[in-house]
């Protein structure tokens, strides 16, 4: 092996990657171990199913926002988009009015449209993503209230409610949807040109532009994927609580972003993975579930969750 300087840097990077990838996994497994020792009901198929079902909504959102963060943006409008699309789905999901596919289609269209607006404002309008999506957070909440007249939309069809409540071969449908989205997203990020371009744009936007990548289109697509997935989360949520709630999903974007960060995705873009995000989602889910099982007071729960987010970031910084 020749003796030039980059080599130590490489191994340093490799070590960092090791910590990044496996540090979090180790922490996750440790927490699971502790919880299974402390609580008899924790380590069981039934509880695992419950955790997976509980995390699926945050999981879908976190995967969506992973796309945006990898490409160097941020989306704060997720929670409101969940509410708005949930209401839209519910409005079209009264029994005997429209086929189920219309309810789902309208909600997803609404999500894609919001993502498109976010993306265009960021790219054509050159407004900071933080500001654009902060504005959209309020707009989408307003749209949700407007569409629902401020009241929950109830009386939804059984077929619609089956999405959130039903299961196939013992696996809850939200979990199946979450799983499908994990597979599809990893595929897009790792196996397609779009995926490569997302990383490139987030890694160095100028260089990506100079390389002839359609930077604006890539960014708009990332916002559309994000809001489109938020719409799916909105459908799952509305169906799970059997109502379209205009004030549902408050602050959901924060849980989603927290999961992404715990998963090692860099908020400055260009680095990250779906696997990491899923791990972050599971970690948050397991902690929520475990602390409930232990009947830890909600005051402590908040403190513990916050501490874990910061600890994750620390592991990430560690070289």
């Amino acid at each position: 092996m020749n003796m030039n300087e980059p080599l130590p840097l490489v191994s340093k990077l490799a070590k960092r990657n090791y910590l990044r990838k496996y540090g979090m996994l180790t922490a996750f497994l440790l927490i699971c171990l502790v919880l299974s020792l402390l609580t008899p009901g924790f380590f069981s198929i039934q509880n695992t199913t419950i955790i997976l079902r509980q995390v699926s909504i945050n999981g879908i959102l976190a995967i969506g926002v992973t796309f945006v963060i990898i490409s160097g943006g941020i989306d704060l409008s997720l929670g409101s988009v969940v509410a708005f699309t949930g209401v839209v789905a519910a409005l079209f999901a009264h029994p005997g009015e429209y086929p189920l596919i219309i309810a789902l289609g309208m909600a997803i269209l609404a999500g894609l449209a919001i993502g498109g607006v976010n993306g265009l404002a960021v790219t054509r309008g050159k407004v900071a993503p933080f500001i654009v999506t902060l504005g959209m957070m309020t707009i989408a909440r307003g749209l949700a209230l407007l569409a629902s007249d401020g009241r929950p939309v109830t009386g939804l069809s059984d077929s619609f409610n089956y999405i959130g409540g039903g299961s196939v071969l013992g696996v809850p449908i939200p979990v199946l949807i979450f799983g499908a989205i994990i597979l599809l997203s990893s595929f897009i990020l790792n196996k397609t040109r779009l995926g490569r371009y997302l990383y490139a744009v987030g890694g160095n936007e100028k260089a990506a532009y100079a390389s002839g990548i359609r930077v604006n289109s890539v960014k708009v697509l990332s916002y559309m994927i994000c809001s489109g997935l938020a719409a799916i989360a909105g459908i799952v949520l509305a169906s799970r609580i059997t109502t379209g709630q205009p004030n549902a999903g408050l602050a959901y974007e924060l849980d989603a972003i927290a999961a992404v960060v715990i998963g090692g995705t860099s908020l400055s873009g260009g680095i990250g993975s779906i696997g990491g995000t899923v791990l972050g989602v599971l970690l948050i889910g397991v902690i929520n579930n475990g602390l409930d099982l232990l009947n830890v007071s909600s005051y402590y729960q908040q403190i513990i969750k916050g501490a874990i987010i910061i600890a994750a970031a620390l592991i990430d910084r560690k070289k």
Binding site: G155, N247, N295
Partner: protein
């Protein structure tokens, strides 16, 4: 289309009149047209219950030929105080306040009183004493719900409690009343209590987790509002445990009423939004007309237990 134009013209006309009135140097701008004006600052128009109160206020106002200006404080006491200040500046005849917080909304009451404009609190209280109060005693709702649970359990069993957003007046009062009432039932044990932040999805997750750790030992669930009650109910149904567990919650929202009718939810407690809204407007009008000679200055509208037996009268 035509209608729309007319509306616009009418609005234009009205604002023209108002402008004329201002130019004419009238002493009280808002009350010019002869109709009394009431300003209302509401806790949050994202809350279904508050929207119902507001609807009732608007209905009563139009019955009585009153102009009602409704502002949404969006749960922020600061906003609320500002809204009341601007009502005072506009010179409204009376103010209805649906307080965000006990302490932080108090300055609104003090300012209105200092300005000599009658102020009526609706639905909840502030530390500063208003001219009038229309509402219900929050404690009563929890008492009614728990009495019902206790009687269904025959005074014995395991209970889990879902709290609202920790630290809010409704959560605090309902929790305090719970403690006092359960003192009379030593054989009812609280297995666990936790917040689900008034939220249905969170309540569902919480209930699932409880089922996991307490399984068949749970005999009853008391949720501080119907949203959480419905969430608990759905989780229990999915776990196939609903037949064994009693669920009672508060508010009587449409979904909960339907669930009571279908025999899924054991009971909810009806808070009379309609009566609160209408009586608040009536009291405000009393103050405008009679000033200091108003006799009845606090009206408590009772809560009512809703079970399968009487649910029909609440369903519209």
């Amino acid at each position: 289309m035509k209608l729309f134009e007319i509306k616009i013209n009418a609005g234009f006309f009205a604002s023209g009149l108002l402008a004329l009135a201002v130019l004419g140097g009238g002493c009280r701008q808002a009350g010019q047209a002869g109709k009394p004006v009431i300003g209302a600052s509401m806790l949050s128009l994202q809350s279904e219950f508050i929207v119902k109160v507001k609807d009732a206020m608007e209905a009563e106002a139009s019955d009585r030929q009153i102009r009602l200006i409704v502002n949404d404080a969006q749960r922020a006491a600061v906003t609320q105080v500002q809204q009341v200040e601007s009502f005072i500046a506009q010179g409204v005849d009376a103010i209805i306040l649906n307080p965000c917080e006990m302490e932080a909304s108090s300055p609104a009451v003090q300012k209105a009183r200092a300005a000599g404009i009658p102020i009526i609190n609706v639905n909840s209280e502030t530390t500063a004493e208003p001219d009038g109060f229309v509402g219900s005693r929050d404690e009563e709702s929890a008492e009614i719900a728990l009495q019902h649970i206790a009687s269904l359990l025959r005074g014995k069993g395991n209970l889990v409690i879902m709290h609202g957003y920790m630290g809010q007046a409704a959560q605090l009062k309902r929790a305090a009343a719970t403690k006092t009432l359960l003192a009379d039932f030593p054989e009812i044990t609280i297995l666990a209590e936790q917040t689900a932040e008034w939220d249905r999805a969170k309540a569902m997750s919480l209930m699932e987790n409880w089922i996991q750790s307490y399984g068949n030992r749970i005999d009853a669930v008391f949720a501080q509002n119907d949203e959480m009650g419905m969430g608990a109910l759905q989780a229990l149904e999915q776990a196939g445990l609903k037949d064994k567990v009693i669920v009672v919650s508060i508010d009587a929202i449409d979904d909960a009423l339907r669930a009571v009718k279908d025999g899924r939810l054991d009971a909810t407690v009806y808070q009379d939004a309609d009566a609160q809204g209408r009586q608040a407007v009536q009291m405000a009008l009393d103050f405008i007309q009679k000033r200091d000679s108003v006799e009845e200055r606090s009206v408590y509208i009772p809560f009512r237990l809703v079970t399968r037996g009487n649910v029909e009268e609440f369903l519209k």
